[in-house]
């Protein structure tokens, strides 16, 4: 049986761990506050003879590597390259959630968006047009309620389709002002020369222009390691944040 990896990303307190528990049957600690998940937990979920390995990333508002947990989440998506990055958005605070979603769409094509807490949104009189969002973001958008197990079948089906290459996405890429764009495209081609298709060049260019020293350091480290014939995988271990969930 083939195993696909699915990374759960999203703002803090949008129900990533609840969705993780609902699908994997595990029991990660859940609670109604920001910053509860600090390490990567992983668990398996089987659907129609396919196994998905879910990684519960720490919740973050951005992926600019301001703090250790943002770095962990960011590096996982870039260096471990999950088959799908499942973005969990808070339907009751969509605008803030979309901020992060747009950043992830710059990094990878393989994204599914779930609008979690739909039940909550409905109670508050918030209506979201998922089809419109699908069109605009260029990736599947699925309304769910993880704690009531609503919409999980549709989600599973979509995961399967994307992992087996039956869904094509055209993710929305942020456009910036002219000056920035010209710098980006110049840097982008140079970066593509160096790394080929190993990493998303446009995204790398943006990070470089933003002066992301931690990312640059990580890239240099990986290059020097691979030169010595070492391994290029295992960014998560290098960051000291493997599965140490309940270590007490």
């Amino acid at each position: 049986m083939r195993t696909y990896t699915v990374a759960l990303a999203g703002n803090p307190n949008t129900g990533k761990s609840t969705l993780f528990n609902a699908l994997t049957g595990l029991k990660q600690h859940t609670g109604n506050w920001s910053g509860k998940t600090v390490s990567l937990a992983s668990g398996n979920y089987e659907y129609k003879d396919t196994r998905f390995r879910f990684i519960d990333l720490p919740g973050t508002y951005s992926l600019f590597s301001n703090s250790a947990d943002e770095e962990v989440a960011r590096d996982y998506i870039i260096f471990e390259k999950p088959d799908v990055t499942l973005l969990v958005l808070d339907s009751t605070a969509l605008e803030r959630s979309l901020n992060l979603a747009l950043q992830v769409l710059e990094m990878t094509d393989r994204v599914i968006v779930c609008l979690n807490l739909m039940d909550e949104a409905k109670k508050k009189g918030i209506k979201i047009d998922a089809r419109k969002l699908t069109d605009q973001l260029g990736v599947p958008v699925i309304p769910i309620s993880a704690r009531n197990n609503d919409g999980l079948d549709t989600l599973s089906e979509q995961l399967l389709l994307m992992c087996t290459g039956q869904t094509r996405t055209t993710p929305y890429r942020m456009k910036y002002n002219e000056q920035l764009e010209s710098q980006i495209s110049r840097l982008e081609s140079e970066l593509r020369d160096i790394f080929g298709d190993e990493y998303p060049s446009r995204w790398l260019a943006i990070r470089f222009l933003d002066g992301d020293q931690k990312l640059i350091a990580t890239l240099k480290h990986r290059l020097s390691v691979s030169d010595k014939g070492g391994m290029t995988h295992g960014a998560a271990q290098a960051l000291g944040s493997s599965n140490s969930g309940h270590s007490c």
Binding site: N32, M174, K220, C248
Partner: protein
């Protein structure tokens, strides 16, 4: 090497001065696009409903009501825990006593040697039984109640209320969230300090976390409070006094946390608190049954596992130390006599200090080791009645001062072995790991010493 050189050339070519502007542009565009997407796809039908959480927040985080409500919630949880744990504790105890009877019969039937019966039944079995019957019931009430508040969304409001206090001491407001995790387990709470971005403030949170009593210390606090502090009361009043004393201990822990944070941020960890945004999530009605079942089951398994992994070997070790004789007394007693003069100055005795030292791997086993030590045979008293315990303590010359100082020492002393290992893993620094051991220990010794000297000087005992 080629790639690396080119990468270095590339990074050197990026002008450093424009970086600030770039970030602003990027973030600005992101916000603009998000807003645009939302205005297209989202419709709000009822504005009134959106602001319900805000109205509740005005009460829960108000300057006037914030603290009283917080204390009341904590008080209610303690009251429920203490009132509810008594009966199941005694039931578990007599259940284990019943099993022990049969086990002993089995050993006799097999003609097993006395030392084997001693190690396995009087050491291992009784030690484990003790930990389980004293610890499990309070934990099975405290944690579900706490989890309900957590899932409702109350914890960030606590952080909000305490933020001003923490900021004044130079610490980070999110430290109160890591403190709340410490109620469950300090070792886990050390991991949770990762939510604090600034290394300085994170270190403060790590160094002070063990001033919050963890699930290994609750039973000690609750048991001693109910046996000695609430002795003059009965029925509901007794529970109330016990709960108040336990809550007093928690408040002392908070005061010490704030003082130590303040002291450190004026000396070794100088700096100003960094700004941060604390999110107040909407209140969500927890899935009540689900939450209760899950946290009870989790804690049950956790306590049982820990009892088997840590308490069992410690029970065996204590039994062995108490039964191997050098000269006219056992190794254990030699050790106790050596510690006694120092311990007496702290208002404790040699046995208590010995129990804290052997109990380094886990706070859960301090009380069982102490009881084992007190019994001349070197094995634990049969677990039958919680209040029969008091006689054992009184026979050893305990007064309310001994109980109070043992509670204080338990609250303030060094973190358990697991926590120290986690501190080492998270800080990767021998110096800070050592300090996280030394600071609490010095405080525990200082506080108990002063309390003992003052109480004795005033002739209260």
């Amino acid at each position: 090497m080629e790639q690396l050189k080119r990468l270095e050339a590339l990074t050197a070519a990026i002008p450093a001065e424009q970086v600030e502007d770039v970030r602003e542009d990027i973030v600005g565009e992101l916000f603009k696009k998000s807003r645009e997407l939302c205005s297209d796809a989202v419709t709000v039908t009822n504005r009134e409903l959106l602001y319900r959480s805000e109205r509740l927040d005005r009460i829960f985080t108000s300057k006037l009501w914030g603290f009283p409500i917080m204390l009341a919630m904590l008080g209610i949880i303690f009251y429920l825990t203490i009132a509810g744990a008594n009966v199941p504790s005694s039931m578990l105890a007599s259940f284990f006593g019943w099993i022990e009877g049969y086990l002993t019969l089995a050993f006799q039937a097999l003609h097993a040697p006395d030392w084997l019966h001693g190690i396995l039944i009087l050491g291992l079995f009784r030690g484990t039984a003790w930990v389980i019957s004293v610890m499990l019931p309070p934990m099975a009430i405290f944690f579900p109640a706490f989890a309900l508040l957590e899932n409702y969304g109350y914890l960030p409001r606590v952080a909000f209320n305490l933020d001003r206090l923490f900021k004044k001491t130079g610490a980070h407001g999110k430290q109160s969230l890591t403190m709340a995790m410490g109620f469950g387990c300090n070792a886990a709470a050390i991991m949770s300090t990762r939510i604090i971005e600034s290394p300085r403030e994170r270190m403060l949170a790590i160094l002070t976390n063990n001033f919050v009593p963890c699930n290994g210390r609750w039973p000690t606090l609750i048991l001693l409070a109910s046996l000695f502090m609430a002795a003059g009361f009965s029925g509901g009043a007794q529970t109330l006094v016990t709960a108040s004393v336990v809550m007093g201990m928690v408040l002392i822990g908070v005061v010490v946390t704030l003082s130590v944070s303040w002291g450190l941020s004026k000396t070794a960890l100088k700096g100003v608190p960094s700004h941060y945004t604390l999110e107040l999530p909407p209140y969500r009605k927890p899935k009540i049954l689900n939450t209760i079942l899950r946290s009870t089951l989790d804690k049950t398994i956790y306590v049982l596992r820990r009892a088997i992994i840590v308490a069992a070997p410690a029970g065996v070790l204590t039994w062995i130390l108490a039964n191997i004789h050098i000269g006219d007394s056992s190794i254990l007693l030699h050790f106790v006599h050596f510690l006694d003069p120092f311990a007496q100055a702290l208002g404790l005795d040699g046995f208590i200090l010995m129990a804290f030292i052997i109990g380094l791997p886990a706070n859960e086993i301090v009380l069982p080791i102490l009881l084992m030590g007190y019994l001349a045979t070197g094995s634990l008293t049969e677990v039958t009645d919680m209040f029969a315990l008091k006689q054992i303590f009184l026979d050893q010359g305990w007064t309310w001062l001994t109980a109070l100082n043992m509670m204080l020492f338990s609250l303030l002393h060094y973190p358990c072995g697991t926590t120290l290992v986690n501190i080492w893993k998270e800080t990767k620094s021998a110096k800070w790991t050592f300090l996280s051991f030394a600071i609490p220990t010095a405080i525990a010794i200082g506080v108990t010493f002063i309390v003992a000297q003052v109480v004795r000087a005033l002739g209260w005992v």
